[in-house]
Amino acid sequence: MNEKLEEMKNQYENTPIPKELDAIVKNALRKGETLKMKNKKQPKKLVAGLAVAGVAAAFILGVNTNQSFAASMKDVPVIGSIAKVVTFREFKVDEKTYTADIKAPAVKGLQNKSLEDSLNQKYLADAKAQYESFKEDMKYVESVGGGHINAKSGYDVKTNNDQILSIERYHTEYSMVELQFDTIDKKNNILITLPSLFKDDNYINAISENIKEQMNAQFAADPNDISYNVEGVNEKLPADMQIPSDMLFEKIKKDQMFYINKDGNLVIVFDKYEVGPGSTGTPEFVIPTSVINNDLVSSAYIK
């Protein structure tokens, strides 16, 4: 090989390797698996949660009295809107190069206490698991000489009106984001699933076609901004940005992540990488109600 190239190769191979690389690789392998399972699996968590609702009493003893909870008790005007979401526990790590801030929310004021307890137990268990996993990672990174790691989890109340409570929970580590949603009908005290909104499976195609249109429209409006993995966009990208056609978005999952927004619209949410490059984040699509009107069981939730 040419001398200059040989020299460049030596320098290339001497690129400093950061200490945390090993921990990040191990973590990513594990997280990739979780992501994969999550994409496949039907949500069974609530069923499991309901089964253990009996132990909820012990759990309530641990309630942190905090300001947002106290405040929530002052302004409770209407019965239907009593339900609030508060920070129930916060797990924090702030040591040298390790920072974690993991908030577990709790729903308060639902009439159906077993539903409330099962949700809250799920939230607390998830937060604890994230915290334990972070501590494990910390131990590992420390054992290989230290490095930077961080994690952040929390929640966002998307909608809380007389009828609907929609909660988003997020968990971020490095640049990864995981989301989970719960939407509750407060009047009838039930957890709403995506299929339960519709008469039959036709919604999958109706929603998917609309999302594909939206993806194409966004790209048409600004080709430099967002390019989803979708037919119509993919072919217009430079060759080195295109992805194989079998990886393009085809349709939503039966139990795709969703919430109902303040305007009563259905919002469909995707995991990072599910339908686009990482820079698209966790894309959300507001589905015009006209698209799904014929498929809806009723207009009670979606307007």
Binding site: K9, D240, P277
Partner: protein, 166 residues
Amino acid sequence: MVKNDLQAIIADYVTENQEKIYRLAYHYVQNQADALDIMQDAIMKAISKQETIENPAYIKTWFYRIVVNTALDLLRKQKKEVVVAEDILAGLDRGEVDRYKDEDLFNSLDKLPQKYRSVVILKYFENLKLDEIAQVLNENISTVKTRLYKALQLLRIELSEEVFQS
């Protein structure tokens, strides 16, 4: 092939080659934080989309392609800042590229436009064949050859013709 085997193959490959993969990512983004992000994102993508690998024998090109796409994705996101940086670079760079001292060699590689830099890295440092590079970059072989030729010209490296036979 059983899925779990595939997952184990990917995990083994990534673990064994993590430093090589990191170097590739690093030379796209040229900073440690972004390179680590790419590692994490690329591995997660690889595991969660493992069924897209057609033949485990080609895991290297398949995985490199994920890394390259992840890196490009990040660069695209940062495009505006990079454009500014390139402007400044161009301003500082007048004529100086003509003279190389040994210690400048690597700098000169890092300053190459990214599409030329990646073919040099993949060909000479990662020892990929031209058809493999074409797969990683999703380009045809003649484009790869052209870029490689141009890159070597820019680096003022003279090589005999046999280089271009993959």
